[in-house]
Symmetry: C2
Subunit: 78 residues, 2 copies
């Protein structure tokens, strides 16, 4: 049983409105040292067998849009 953790984030060149909202909210709460917030989605996938390359396929076929997203696949240690 493999456990993958796939993180889908916006590319650095794409504006992240949600992240900007969170940064603004944290500053309003008094955390003036917040510099930047970027958001993303995480998928924790349990597989019978399988490996990282299968995770890459999940990214390209379903979970991410390669025009605007970066996708990172790793083994889930939790």
């Amino acid at each position: 049983m493999a456990k993958l953790r796939i993180t889908v984030t916006l590319k650095g060149s794409v504006e992240d409105a949600e992240g900007q909202s969170v940064a603004k909210a944290l500053k309003l709460l008094g955390y003036k040292n917040v510099d930047e917030v970027r958001t993303g989605k995480v998928y924790r996938i349990k597989l019978k067998g399988g490996d990282l390359s299968e995770g890459e396929e999940f990214c390209s076929k379903l979970l991410s849009n390669p025009v605007i997203n970066d996708c990172k696949v790793e083994f889930d240690e939790d």
Copy 2:
């Protein structure tokens, strides 16, 4: 400059409809070995100074609902 990675997921006891949809879609794409998918949000936060305990405060004050969410704070290595 600290970089935190905060992952907000649904607690194990809470049904994850989005995760179930992704699992179903992956199976329809032919990946019959997919057992379970759980989804979550990830926040990558750049801070001037700051440490993990500040990340815990962000979780409890803004980013998560303790009734349904688990929140994990770690240093971002990327």
